[in-house]
Amino acid sequence: MSNSVLEIKAISGHAGPTPGRDASRDYDVCKLIDVTTCIGCKACEVACLEWNGYPFRETVFDNTYQTMPDLAWNYYNLIRFNEHVAEDGTLSWLMRKDGCMHCAEPGCLLACPADGAIVQYQNGIVDFNQDNCIGCQYCVTGCPFNIPKFNHETKKVHKCTLCSDRVGAGLEPACIKACPTGCLHFGSKDDMKDLAEKRVKQLHEHTSHKSAGVYDPPGVGGTHVIYVLHDIDHPQYYGGLPKDPQIPLVVRIWKGPLKWLGNFAIAAGILTAAAHFVRYGPKKVEEGQKKEVE
């Protein structure tokens, strides 16, 4: 069923333009993070913990406005802080909400060997199913963003679910709901791209951020979490966001040609042994000598 049947065409008794008209009702979802309006309040971090039922962890003070050094298995969502000094000597505090990017071509899913441990939904959410996770952490190797985190006690890997449970019930993710500045938006990919482009245009026209841009890296087929950055040319300033993330070449080779070559070689080896047996048969001990024994 096409979702376009649910798009609003007109509503009764309403002055002015019809709200929601032409808004995309595509299946695919997207989180837009406008880092230019993030104040680093960490409401999203708290909302994430609350919704997912994790206790608030001890924080690690490192003289910045960052809660702790890295994401954790029970901490999906972290505002990364960087005090950046530009070439002209001006100082800026860069805050970026870090978490799973929900790649259209997820490296974690490609690398995972466990049946059904990673699921990519039609709406773009990439979700880990811990019931099927075997704890090998190949997903960590496949991820270009350093997102999945291992729980030593349960031997399972966790990451942001984009609140697939909430989204499935027609709600927006918990972090979106908590954001007080409107820096976080949630909707279809088309709408979020559109909104992001508008914000970038605004930044170009009304601020000094002339190199502002949208971060939707094509190397992983685009992502279902996109950023508006003041400086699209240097995403690495924002707590190490990769400039051109790709599924590692080694993972592609490993899960592609090497796997099929290996499968072929093993099958060919077994078949060759069988063919050899059919053609030459078992080795015989010297007949003349055998008679002497009998």
Binding site: F150, G269, E286
Partner: protein
């Protein structure tokens, strides 16, 4: 002959493997086979059922490296016992240069062999060095959470190394299992009960046979 072997053995049998060697072989074989089955499960989704059969994916992931250590210890044990016998000699080089005759069962044209022929010795060294590659790369795959993201290339390298080393040992393993179960009747008995018949020894390992019997003709005892 020791007492245990003689119970099954014909009177003129020759002991090929001691009880010690057989236990050593089968413990190593068992640990390798477990790692092979679970490793193949992690290697390709079409064989993931192997992990399911062996108690599930998480169980297989837990035991694979531990049994891998068992395989490592088994190989080290073998090396202590068999190292000298496995040194490649001129006899082996002659065997290997005529390996086509051996492979096509024209055994009358194969030069006489010691207790282990060149092919068996090659398999031994393949598994010996393969084990070190598997162990080295395997340790990184066992505890990847301690490798920082900035050293991701180490994880990448070790995965490829582990897989290539495993595939090479699998190649040797297929040949080993085929030859011991089908191609050379009597070799399985040798590894289970420890003895071979005199004709078997004389046919496949004549130099060893002469050494063991002083060149006695077959069937004289």
């Amino acid at each position: 002959m020791n007492a245990a072997a003689t119970e099954y053995a014909p009177p003129d049998a020759i002991q090929r493997y001691t009880f010690h060697e057989r236990v050593m072989h089968w413990l190593t074989a068992l640990s390798y086979s477990y790692c092979l089955a679970t490793g193949l499960a992690f290697y390709t989704p079409h064989l993931f059922w192997l992990a399911v059969m062996l108690g599930g994916g998480p169980t297989s992931r837990f035991w694979h490296p531990i049994l891998g250590i068992g395989f490592f210890l088994g190989i080290i044990w073998m090396h202590l016992v068999w190292r000298r016998q496995m040194e490649i000699t001129e006899t082996d080089k002659r065997f290997l240069s005529n390996v086509e005759d051996y492979a096509t069962n024209r055994d009358d044209r194969v030069p006489p062999q010691e207790k282990y022929n060149g092919g068996q010795k090659l398999y031994y060294w393949l598994m010996y060095y393969g084990m070190f590659l598997l162990l080295f790369s395997g340790v990184f795959l066992w505890f990847p959470e301690y490798i920082p993201f900035s050293l991701a290339w180490v994880r990448h390298l070790m995965i490829i190394l582990h897989e290539c080393a495993a595939l090479i040992t699998i190649g040797g393993f297929i040949v080993h299992v085929y030859m011991s179960t089908l191609l050379v009747p009597g070799s399985m008995t040798a590894m289970i009960h420890g003895f071979v018949t005199r004709t078997w020894a004389r046919t496949h390992h004549r130099l060893w046979y002469i050494r063991m019997t002083g060149g006695d003709p077959v069937g004289k005892e």
